[in-house]
Amino acid sequence: MTESPATRASLVFRLRDQEDHDAWGDFVANYGPMLYRFIRSRGLQDSDASDLVQEVMRSVGLAIGRLNYAKEKGGFRAWLFTITRNKLSTFFEKRRRIGPTANDTAQFELLNQAPGRNELDEQWELEYQRQLAADAMEKLKATIEPNTWKAFELTAIDGLTAEEAGQQIGLSKGAVYVARSRVTAKLRSEIEERMNEES
């Protein structure tokens, strides 16, 4: 996650360029963990989820040059979601067919019933935003006064109370609240900026 947002936006074009050897690494770093989390959130075991991530990545790698998806399907992320969703469906369908619950008369057994498609969409968006947030934190950290950052990290991530955090770094409780809100606000605008670039 060392790339600037501008690079992220043009990742698609770089992936198509076989001279750009870093593009693939960036794609894996940017999207791999979120793919993994998303697939795990559907109840798959580690090994199945890893296989599925691999399949999705293979599809992307092999097809990226053939498509003009950016124009027709609402961008790279939407395309990636469609691939992932369909791979997941195929996985479940296969499992159901060979599993003990297989039922010859079960027509129209819709897979995306328990989690509705909206729920799937939401989960995907959530994982994506988390990834953006992590990315944004990475970038912001260097630009923020260390104590302020620490106050944010201790309270927002490590779950300490303002009082506990304040004692550790020698700030008043009120100052910790303010520090946290400042970093939060910066993070938010950073995340928003990234979301706008992508959409």
Binding site: P33, M34, R130, A156, A185
Partner: protein, 759 residues
Amino acid sequence: MNAIAEHLSELQLRHLINGSVDEQSAASWEKHLEDCGRCQDALQAMATGEIAVDSLVADVKTLDPPSKSAYWPAVKAVEEEIKTSMSGIARSASDTPVEGTSNIADTDGGALPHPPTPPPSDLEFLDPSDDPAYIGKLHHFQIARVIGRGGMGIVLEAFDTHLQRPVAIKVLNPQFQTNDTARQRFCREGRAAAAISHEHVVPMYQVAKANEGEVAYLVMQLIEGDTLESRLSDARPLPPNEVARIGMQIAAGLAAAHRRDMVHRDIKPANVMIETESNSVKLTDFGLARAHDDVKLTKTGMVTGTPLYMSPEQTLGETADERSDLFSVGAVLYEMATGIAPFQAPSAIGVMQNIMKLTPDPPHKVNAGITRPLSDLIMSLLAKKPTDRPESAADVATALASIVSEYGPISPLQVPAVAANEVKKLSGSYKRVQNRWTAIAWMAAAAAVLVAVGIFVATRPDTGDNLPSVVLPDNPGTVWSVDFEPDGQQLAAAVEDGSVRIWDVANQELVKSFGAHRGIVWMVAYHPDRRLLVTSGDDAEIKLWNSDTFELVRSWEADSAVRGIAFSPDGQRLVAGDREGTLHIFDIDSDQEIARKTHPGSILAVDYSADGKLIASAGSEKTVFVFDAESLDQRLALQGHDGPIYNLRFAPAGNRLASVGWNKNVRVWNTDTGKEALNLIGSEGDVWGVAFCGDGTHLVTSDQAGTARAWDLSSGQCVTTLRGHTAAVHNVSLDPTARRVATSSRDGTVRVWDMSSLE
């Protein structure tokens, strides 16, 4: 430093976040924050805004897969694979002396060494897709995945690249494809099913063949939901009110098919879809069982498959008719009510024997939660002799509707559209029933209706709500306007997606759908006596169509979106009001604009008075402007509305004008005096639609809450409420020939209400 006593203002909080405040103030505000939970929360909420930053960062440390996860080697392996294939391209590109581009992004395909992944083996009739998001292609359908496999065939989720919408595709099994009779029947039944348009039947879009006619498939609406079969998979009964509701909707869908002499033949839980969002029932697989029989019969000489829901006559191999479907509905209802299929046995033969001989325990004895009327109705459906069963699916739907009402005040929302004439027929057949079971069921149902009406009176101030309505569903978006043809046979609906849909009212059939405008179609109106239809849209165009051929006769252009149009009573002129507040007058036989006039605000509605002498116009300005229709001199400015005016209408005779709008406003004006004659109280939310009845004694309005109301203008009281739409009702139209009201709604449906039971 002392803490300040008052809570921090928004501005102060913002200064703190931005660091744009002097140290002294900051310190005192921080002091306040120490002990004020409210300001702590407000501060963080302001910082977070609409993005849930707190929860997004909370587990940032565990975002990556664990270090021992199989993820890491898997990703590494695929990376190697891709890099190898990439360098392969680089080599082959340099070897080939054509177009020296180094960027494969510019090439249109075929540049990669790997061909697209071929479809799975049992889907070999699919062409490979060029998009890895899909598993294959069939004509212009990109196939996303297999939804299910059954005896009949494979059901696929697909994306229609022409119409840009998701669909379900059912492909006949390969073994059936080789049987010409089966394939022909599959297509024939598919076409017949396509003619059924009902809210409880899965809409069939298309019947098609691929691979030189060897692969037949059906394209239908993709339903997001599950099957009744999966809801019954744990062998537990459903809640009794759900049993009645689902049964009622099955019966209503079936009634629509039976009206077209279409027998389902294979009603079973797997063929009953339940849409997740609306919980609405959708029947599928009409008539397909017959194609199935063709194959099985030729193969084994005997009907096989799942006989659990078959009727006695079907097990004997006799022709299945409407009553046979009713038996199957009974078996499905029985299973919903008790959790047990009524004729279960270890073998198919055993099931068939049970179907012939066994009378199962009545549901109310198996499950105490099932009421006697429901239990009796189910048992009457399971009568061995077809003539002992209820007469029609419409009867059953109506009986179940009254049983649903036993479980609480009936919401007409849940009552499906059984054609109004069917309901009337029912009251006749009710007296004729001879059969013991049905007689009991009907008496119970009648009692239930009385109970339901009692509850109604108690809970709703305005009664008479349960008028029969017919639903014209699945218009692709908000229906902004609806108008009856002067002879009442058809009605036209103006839809948000730019199309106009023509419905045959009696048969609930879509007659025609055509693209009329770019963007929203706001208005549609029939000419009073000529075969013409006018539409107006967001594209500022006003178009006149031949209402037989739907060819464009003439079109005019306003300055901006046109939301109000009306014909003059003599039919010679047309007034259109646009968003910029300009009224345009056209002669319908000329391309020229005759006159124009601008008033303040944007125009949302216009109308001609019955004598053709006045034009009224209103919109965002809260004022109804009345003009001389010839000179366009302003005659009146009627004031009283406290918000925008959404619609207005002159009475069919006399001096009354009704206007409706924002914040429950329904006002009736006297255009002689310019005074308000009535202010009708009782609407829910903004009022969108208004129409006078034929003799001007009643007014019908429609509102944001999805309700239409009829008002008696002599008393100023609401006399009936039409509930059924699930979203705002934007427009109402009255059938000039009968006591029917059409309402059009944001929920994408048009409803036609039979008001003949009212005074």
